[in-house]
């Protein structure tokens, strides 16, 4: 009886695992296809596509890659900015600058995070335009 119960539990466990495996494979195929659409499934292709993203970023369209988790220090590095450029453009008075993130600063100042992110991008665009 015990052996019968054991075998039944094993079969149920197997069935559940196979079901989970099928779902995971479907998710993998879906995610892989979205990578294919972005032409990211061949390492060399990805390398070429991302060659531009290696520091420094120089064109106006590069500001679209900025996200609110990025720190001002990182932005200065990525875009090769003078250390105090963003501080003066955005009137940042926080003493932690540049070692704080865009979202952190927006939260401290009670700014709308998306609106402040846009103002960071807008502050960078003329600088990158003039650099060319």
């Amino acid at each position: 009886m015990k052996r019968f119960i054991d075998n039944r539990y094993i079969k149920i466990a197997l069935a559940v695992l196979v079901f989970i495996l099928i779902i995971l494979f479907a998710m993998f195929i879906r995610d892989y296809q979205s990578l294919e659409q972005l032409r990211l499934t061949r390492p060399y292709h990805s390398w070429l596509l991302n060659a531009k993203s290696r520091r420094p970023l120089t064109t106006v369209s590069d500001v679209n890659s900025i996200e609110s988790w990025m720190t001002f220090d990182y932005l200065n590095y990525l875009f090769n900015l003078p250390p105090s450029y963003l501080k003066s453009q955005l009137s940042i008075t926080d003493t932690h600058y540049p070692r704080l993130s865009i979202s952190q600063y927006a939260r401290k100042q009670n700014f709308d995070p998306n609106a402040f992110l846009d103002s960071v991008k807008n502050a960078l665009r003329p600088y990158l335009k003039n650099r060319h």
Partner: protein, 198 residues
């Protein structure tokens, strides 16, 4: 959550890598694959050093694994005895299985976050020798961390697109390991029954 971790990474760099990877190795459910992909991408931009990041991540993960191993090696027996006067049959079988394939078990469990922690605890409870644990833990961690960091390095700005694929692939790997162990058990049982003429 990943956004907050990324800010933390950018602010504290290698210290952040160490703390996050160590915490994940001990018990916290942190998205280590995503963190390493991001670090690889930052390394491709020159903001992090690839090899230093790999060394720090591996050292942190190995220390976390050793901590889990040491904890169960030291206190595991006492905890089990407080619940069961006699060792449970399942635990005895598990001990025999792991002891006969200690290296392979430790190596394979490095490939997914949950099994990594479980592997550390089991290795401590069944008494896998420390040297064996360290060698296969190192090999397993290298085989995981190096490809993920490299993928982040190649992906650059597109690292977030690879993050989902890697997480799902880890899940598939974990389920396949469990399926393999169960079908092996069924096979050996039926072989034993045939041998006994049942």
């Amino acid at each position: 959550m990943i956004a907050a971790l990324l800010s933390y990474l950018l602010l504290y760099k290698y210290v952040a890598i160490f703390i996050l990877v160590f915490s994940a190795a001990v018990i916290l459910p942190l998205p280590v694959n995503s963190i390493l992909l991001a670090v690889g991408a930052f390394a491709s931009q020159g903001y992090f050093s690839f090899w230093l990041s790999l060394a720090v991540a591996m050292a942190a993960n190995m220390l976390g694994d050793l901590f889990g191993y040491w904890l169960t090696r030291t206190y595991g027996e006492a905890v089990i005895k407080s619940f069961y006067a006699k060792r449970h049959e399942v635990l005895v079988r598990l001990e025999k299985y792991i002891q006969s394939r200690a290296g392979l078990t430790i190596f394979l469990t490095r490939f997914t976050g949950i099994s990594d922690i479980a592997g550390n605890f089991l290795a401590g409870i069944v008494g896998v020798p420390l040297r064996t644990f360290i060698i296969f833990d190192f090999l397993g961690n290298f085989c995981v961390f190096f490809p993920v960091l490299s993928l982040g390095y190649i992906a650059g700005n597109y690292w977030q697109d690879y993050s989902n694929v890697i997480d799902v692939a880890s899940g598939i790997f974990l389920v396949l390991i469990i399926l393999f162990m169960i079908t092996r058990t069924i096979y050996h049982r039926s072989k034993k029954r045939r041998g006994l003429g049942i």
